[in-house]
Each structure stands twice: as structure tokens, then as C-alpha cells.
């Protein structure tokens, strides 16, 4: 199947070309864009069940490596590549400091991850992707923080991949094979006999996945990394790369099906239950930390991993509705997160800073971006009829159907909190007073506008016709041996407790809006006034020599909440990792003292070592 190989080779070729012509920024971006398009074209040719295998004479074993298309992988492939097309299209004109060849390398790796049938190539691709992203992050803002961020990410992800490596070899030494399918079915077969054992191996993998997706307690790298990554890379990082972890979880979650008959918690096997809690806690922690952020990229970084928490909580249930909801939310997250980050990138590229409290009022200058952002956060908040609603709605139903009310309340709290921080970002960036220093800010270029219009359209379209996504998801659910949810048309979302016709909701909302605007039109006329013309008890701000910046309330927007949130902020996972790093460093500096530079010490060491060996020799003599 040459198309499968093309999915790997096209990006690699593109990457090489992009690396060569790096100096010519436009050409590089064009290459990047066209590579994504070509990859997408090849993808169209691919159907579920396509496979390609080759065997590698490696280490005296004959290792079968292969690529295969499952419903899940084709879903993931479409998601990532199509999003990449959009992103690179947007990037054609925007100043985003992205290294195209790294992005394309990441694409190749991600395609490989989704198609791999054996752990060997899975790990290879995983590493490749990780490293390409690390390097991409190094190319971001050239500051000490950026370096720190990338290092932090690198450490976490190296730790994760070593953990996965251990898992892979523990497993392959048991089965003598690297094939994912064989290994998983082996695990299924011993699941009931040695559950702890299986759990040990699987958690080795899970650590890697959790790191990649930023699941609590491995979320600490996320803000550093997103905050300091090149602007253009962040949308890809947050929308696409965080999904690899989810894909990884889905490899192993079928294991829990065999535990269904074992007593668990609330009808759930306890591994699932634990993962649900990890997901919920992640969602809450992300939201709460996002609350106090002033850096826009960091804020949405937190938002991003909060949403990953939602997804994990849903898929961890591994019921038809949970799985559907999780995957659906994964898709929606891709869309709205993409919309949000693309607008954020657009704003940053025009304004040049990332501190939200120094922005404001930009809706006057960038109306379309403002609208896109609005639709994006509406979707993120789960407001019907936009795309995010259906999945959140299903997640809640999936959770409650198992009686996981605590976790559900946590998720709902996360959802509300997300509404709050989204509003705050919305306000701080786009609303309020426009500073005079942004008088010359312009709306983004035509290509950017096209992207944004497309995103708005997609967010609304998939909000109204979720069936277009739910259909493939149903086949994924079927491929895991679960009974898919009933489908009754493209406009329906069928939950556990109820189903919703999105079209009728959409029509109701539209009609209501028409009515609203009619009312607006027939009621008395208004006159437009400049932004400074505000109610200030009889005076105008100019009388007090106020500038728009001073007349903007956006710093410490939720200051009264500080006290309530403080307990959450005290959970310093970050500090734990830092402290760990510090103690390693301390250990290093003490060990270094062995090498004093004195030749006698070295001689002592050598002779002493020898003497110890001799004594050891006597003891066993």
C-alpha cells in the first residue's frame, strides 16, 4: 500500500526541502502547506483495513513492523492532517517563527504513531515526535524561560518515553513479539490471573501518555512549554500533539473490558475509575490555574490540558457513550482550541506581547478575529449550538450514567471555571478600552481571514450536524467491540438520558435572534459615542488625565477569588519536580567532589577499589 508509505515519506521529504530552503520564509511556508495538502490527498485514498508490513532483520530476530489503518487511526489522521492544512495555510502570511521542517517531521511522526502496528515503530515515532517538538520549542522566544520551558518539557517527555521503553520491553520479553495487537491480547489473557502485573506494565505506558497529554500530576510542563513555544507551533502543540496521549490510552483501555465482571466501583472496574479521577482532577486543576494567568498563551495552555482532562475522564469510562463523548470532545477541542489559538497568535503577531492586561479593546481593530475568538470560547464553554456543546453534554451524561456524581461535579466546576477564564481573556484582549498604542493595529491578512471564517463555519457546522463526526466515531466504538450508540440522522446527538436535535435548537436560537434584532431595530434610536465617553459621575475621563490603559480593568480580574483559590494553588507539583531536580543537582555536586584533581586521591581510589575487590574475592573464596 503505497499510500500508507506516502503518509510517512511525503512529510519527510517536505521536511528536508523545508530545511534546505529555510532561508526563504515564504517558500518554506509554501512547502509546509503543500506538504500537508499532499498528505491529505494521499489520505483520501486510504481506507480502513489498509495495511503494509515489512520485516526487519534486527538483532537476530525477525521483527515484523507494519502500518495499519483502523477506524481510530483514520479518524485521528484526518483530524491531525486537516488541522495541519488549516494551520499551515494560516501560517502562510502570519509571523509565527515556526520551523516548518520540524512541524513536518512531527507530522510524519504523528502519522506513524497512528498507523503503527508494533511497539517498535510506535516508540520510534513517539520519540521522533517528542524530539521534533522539543527542538521546535527551543526555536521559540529566545529567552531563559523558553530554554527552561523546553528543558522542562524535554525532561518530562524523556522520562515518559523511558518509562514506555521499559514497558515495551517488559512486555515483549513475555510475548516475544512487538506487535501491539498480540501484546494487548496477551495482556487480556493474563489480566484476570495477574491483574497487578498487568497494571504495572500498563502504567509504565500510561506515564508516557500522561506526560504527553499533560494529565495531572504530569501537567507541570504544559504552561512553561506552551508559554514559551514559537507562536505558530502552539496551536499544533495544544490541539494535535496532546491527542497522542489519548490515542495511547485507547490502545490499552480495551484491557479493562475483561474486568467488567470483577467488582469495581459503581460498576466500573477500578482502573477505569482511577483514570476517570485523574481526568477530572486534571480538568479542575487546569481550570483553576488558568484563573489567575495573565499570559495569554499560558492561560490557554491550562485551558488545553483542562480539556484533555475532560477527554480522558470520558474515554476512561470505556462505555459506548463515554468513548463517543471523549472522541467527540477530542475533535471539538481540536476545532475550538485551534480557533482560539489561531486568533491568539494573530493578536500576538499584531500586538507583539502576550500579557493580556496590556491589551484591550482590540475588537475595534480586529473584528473578524474578535468574532472567531467569540465563537471559539463559546464552543469551549459548551454553549449550544456551537461545536463544543454536544461533547460536553455527552460527557456529563456518560459520567452520570455511572453514578460518578463527584467526578461529574468536578468536571462541571471545571466547565464553569473555564467559562470564567475564557470571559476574562475575552475581556482583557478584545473588550474594554483600546490603548492608543494599538491605534495602528490592523486586521490580519486575507489568508488569515479565510482561515478564521472557515473555523467559524466549522464550529457552527459541526455544532449543528454532529452526526458527521459521530458516524466515524461510532465505527471506532464498534471496532473496540462495544455497541455503538444509535444514530438517527446527522443533526442528532444521542446521549444516554436524552437526545438533542441540534438543528431545531439552532433554528430556535436563530429565530430568537431575529426577533431580538427586530426588537433592537424597532426600539428607539441610539447614537454612537467614542470609547472614552463613559459614565464617571458627571466628568469625563480626560478631566482626570486618564489614558485608556489606566481606564481598563483587567489586571487581577478575579482578585476577590484569590482567597478561595489559594488552597488549590498550594498544590505545588511543580515544586516537587523542581525540588527533585535540585536534589539531583546537589547530589551531582557532591559526587563531583570525588574528582578533586589530586593525583593521590585518584591513586587511592584505584588502589582502594582494587583492595575492595580483593576483599570481595576473599569473601567468596
Amino acid at each position: 500500500m503505497s499510500s500508507l508509505l506516502a503518509l510517512l515519506l511525503v512529510p519527510v521529504t517536505g521536511s528536508i526541502v523545508a530545511a534546505i530552503i529555510q532561508r526563504y520564509r515564504l517558500a518554506e511556508r509554501l512547502v509546509s502547506f503543500s506538504t500537508f495538502v499532499v498528505t491529505l490527498l494521499f489520505l483520501i485514498d486510504i481506507r480502513v483495513g489498509d495495511a503494509f508490513t515489512w520485516s526487519l532483520g534486527f538483532l537476530g530476530k525477525n521483527i515484523e513492523m507494519g502500518l495499519q489503518i483502523t477506524p481510530l487511526s483514520i479518524f485521528m489522521l484526518y483530524m491531525t492532517i486537516a488541522f495541519g492544512v488549516l494551520l499551515t495555510f494560516f501560517d502562510l502570511t502570519e509571523r509565527s517563527k515556526m520551523k516548518s521542517f520540524l512541524l513536518l517531521l512531527t507530522l510524519a511522526a504523528s502519522n506513524w504513531i497512528f498507523m503503527a502496528t508494533d511497539f517498535l515503530s510506535f516508540f520510534f515515532a513517539w520519540e521522533l515526535m517528542g524530539w521534533a517538538s522539543i527542538l521546535a520549542i527551543f526555536g521559540g522566544r529566545r529567552t531563559a524561560e523558553s530554554r527552561h520551558g523546553a528543558l522542562y518539557y524535554a525532561m518530562m517527555s524523556i522520562g515518559g518515553s523511558y518509562s514506555m521503553l521499559i514497558g515495551i520491553f517488559l512486555l515483549s520479553n513475555l510475548t516475544g513479539s512487538f506487535s501491539i495487537q498480540q501484546n494487548v491480547s496477551y495482556l487480556v489473557s493474563i489480566m484476570t490471573v495477574h491483574p497487578w502485573w498487568v497494571l504495572g506494565i500498563v502504567s509504565m505506558f500510561f506515564v508516557a501518555f500522561m506526560v504527553k497529554s499533560g494529565i495531572f500530576p504530569f501537567h507541570t510542563w504544559v504552561p512553561y512549554t506552551y508559554g514559551e513555544s514559537p507562536d505558530g507551533f502552539v496551536p499544533y502543540l495544544s490541539s494535535v500533539m496532546s491527542k497522542y496521549g489519548i490515542y495511547g490510552f485507547l490502545i490499552f483501555l480495551p484491557l479493562t473490558l475483561s474486568l467488567r465482571n470483577v467488582p469495581g466501583v459503581l460498576g466500573l472496574p477500578w482502573p477505569n475509575y482511577t483514570l476517570v479521577w485523574f481526568g477530572s482532577i486534571t480538568a479542575v486543576v487546569g481550570s483553576v490555574l488558568a484563573f489567575m494567568q495573565d499570559d495569554v498563551k499560558k492561560l490557554f495552555a491550562y485551558s488545553s490540558f483542562s480539556n484533555l482532562g475532560f477527554i480522558l475522564a470520558a474515554i476512561a469510562l470505556f462505555t459506548p457513550i463515554g468513548l463517543t463523548a471523549g472522541l467527540f470532545h477530542a475533535f471539538n477541542h481540536l476545532l475550538f482550541n485551534g480557533a482560539i489559538f489561531i486568533t491568539v497568535v494573530a493578536v500576538i503577531s499584531k500586538v507583539g506581547i502576550t500579557r493580556m492586561s496590556e491589551m484591550g479593546g482590540l475588537w475595534q481593530k480586529m473584528p473578524l478575529t474578535f468574532l472567531t475568538f467569540f465563537v471559539g470560547i463559546a464552543s469551549a464553554a459548551g454553549i449550544p449550538p456551537f461545536a463544543g456543546f454536544g461533547s460536553k453534554w455527552m460527557i456529563f451524561q456518560a459520567m452520570i450514567s455511572h453514578g460518578l456524581i463527584f467526578a461529574t461535579v468536578l468536571l462541571f466546576f471545571a466547565s464553569i471555571a473555564s467559562f470564567l477564564y475564557l470571559m476574562r481573556a475575552f475581556h482583557a484582549i478584545f473588550l474594554g478600552q483600546l490603548s492608543h498604542k494599538y491605534d495602528n493595529v490592523k486586521e490580519i491578512s486575507a489568508i488569515g481571514k479565510i482561515t478564521e471564517v472557515f473555523l467559524i463555519g466549522a464550529l457552527i457546522f459541526f455544532g449543528i450536524f454532529p452526526g458527521f463526526i459521530l458516524d466515524p466515531i461510532n465505527s471506532i466504538v464498534g471496532s473496540f467491540g462495544l455497541k455503538p450508540l444509535p444514530t438517527s440522522g446527522y443533526e442528532y446527538i444521542n446521549g444516554f438520558f436524552s437526545s438533542v436535535n441540534m438543528v431545531s435548537i439552532f433554528i430556535v436560537v436563530i429565530v430568537a435572534f431575529i426577533f431580538g434584532f427586530l426588537l433592537f431595530a424597532v426600539s428607539a434610536k441610539h447614537k454612537k459615542v467614542p470609547q472614552e465617553d463613559n459614565y464617571t459621575a458627571g466628568q469625563i475621563p480626560k478631566d482626570w488625565n486618564l489614558t485608556p490603559e489606566m481606564y481598563q480593568f483587567s489586571y487581577d480580574f478575579y482578585e476577590p477569588m484569590d482567597k478561595e483559590i489559594a488552597p488549590f494553588l498550594k498544590i505545588k507539583i511543580d515544586g516537587f519536580f523542581k525540588g527533585f531536580g535540585d536534589s539531583v543537582e546537589y547530589l551531582g555536586s557532591s559526587i563531583k567532589e570525588i574528582f578533586t584533581g589530586n593525583v593521590q586521591i585518584y591513586t587511592y581510589l584505584a588502589i582502594g577499589g582494587l583492595v575492595i575487590f580483593v576483599i570481595a574475592g576473599w569473601i567468596v573464596w
Binding site: 461535579v409 437526545s499 426600539s523
Partner: protein, 307 residues
Amino acid sequence: MVIVEFLIKLSQGFGIGALALATGLLFGGIARKIMARIQRRYGPPFTQNFMDLFKLLSKGSVSHGWAFDLGLVAGFVPMLAALMFLPIGPFTLFPSDSSLIMIVYLMMMAYLGMAMGVLASGNPNSAIGMSRALMLMAGYEVPFAAVIFSIYFFSKTGYLTQIVAMQSGGFMNWNIVKMPLGFLAVEIVLQGMLGEKPFDQAIAPAEIASGPMVELGGKYLGFGMIQHSVALFLETGIIVDLFLGGAPNFWIFIAKQFVLYFVVVLVDAILPRLRVHEATSFFWKLPLFLGILQAVIVIIQGGVLNV
């Protein structure tokens, strides 16, 4: 046929909207009267709110741009849209879509629109007010969600219509009897939702100058009033449907709503205002505790669903 059906639904929807608005305004007027009487004043007439609305809509006003306009329109429109899915007495416009969470999220869209309009005015005082309103919302939505989810789990359905149907057949079938703690929690939450004391930090008349509405005038304030009135109807209506067994006809429905609202007004009359973070943390304590307790009871009662 489709067009005829659409027109019928349209007119019905219009009717529901008008009815809800009227009821909401009337409740508001009655509340002002009750308040006045408690304070030993005569108070404005019941119809004062209708007159106010008409006056506001016909007065000229100041706009801060299209985002301001759009936001304020979007502030009350979703409330009206949400009404269409609410079982009002025996009648529901779209019974097959009356999902509770959907209604909750539609209401949230109204807050989003309101916030957008208010913040687009560029007045820092309105921003301060909005931040208070949002924080308050973070407070009361959580216990509310806990109760909603208990009901979901308890009723095994998410349709308001079906929840109402399950409560038919007498007082003892009402959820208020089956889940008293949940009802108590929701009653407290309602206080916050409607912005009555002790949770009126954002929209208290005394705080107008530092509240969200500082820049609103004329029709914009009118839109705000519409939003508040419809929300009053909607929120009390939801609770009636959830706990008080709905109603066989429209009048009883309104009566039940009024009972709920009456309690709210009475509480409002006797309690002072809290500081905003105190309010939020209060919601995260007592009502949430009640809601969670209710949820635990429900789970223990109902066992678990095996899927």
C-alpha cells in the same frame, strides 16, 4: 406542511415568550410591592415594570459600537430560546429536545452575551461588576449542577418533560419529597441566580455605579430588564418542573413559580449583602454540601446502572 408547522411553532413560541416576559415583569412588580410593604412603604404599582420597560425601549440611548449592541441582544435572546424547551404546565414546544443541561448551557450563552456587551462598553466599573457576576456564577452553578446530576441519575432521564411526567400522580411523587436536601440547595441557589440578597453584589440598585449596568441606558437597559424577567420565569420554571412536579395547567404553574419567588423575595428582604468572595465560598460550602449529600443518598438508593 413544514412551513405551516414552522409558522405554528413560531407563533406558539412568540406566545410563550410574551407570556414569560409578562409573568416575569409582573413578578418583579409584585416583588417591589412586597418589598415596599415590608419596609412600610406604599411602593410602585404592580404594573410599574411594564411601564418601565416600555419607557426604556422608547428612549434614545448611547451605544459603544456594534459589539456592545450585539452583546446586549445576545444577552436576552438565548433566554427566550431556552424558554422554548421548558415544559410550562402541560405544554412544551419541543418536548423531544427538552434536555436540562442544554437549557442550562443556553442560559450560559445569555450571560456570555450580556458580559460581552457590558464589557464592550469600555467602562472599568462595568468590568468590575461583571467580574463579580461571573464569580458569583462560579459559586452557584456548582451546587446546582450537583443537584441536576442527582436528578438525572435518580430519574434515569435527561428530559425535563419526562422528569415532570415521573412526578405525576400526587404530592408524594414530587421530587421535593424524594429529594428535600436537593430542593433546599436549589432554593439557595435560586437566590443567587436571581441576584437577590444576600447575593446581589452585581446587580443591586445601590451598586449600579459600579455594576455591570453602569453604561446601559434606554433600550439597552430594557434588554437587560427583559433578560432578567425571562430568567426569573425560566429559573423558577425549571425548579418547578424539577421539584414541584410541573403543573397540570398554566395557572398552577405560575402559582408554583410565585411561591418559589415569594420565598426568595422574603429572604431578600431580611438579609444583608455578602461580599462577593464570601458569597462564592458560601455556595461552595452549604449548598454544595447539601447537593452532594443528596447525590450520595440518591446513589445509595438507586444502586448503580450497569451498562
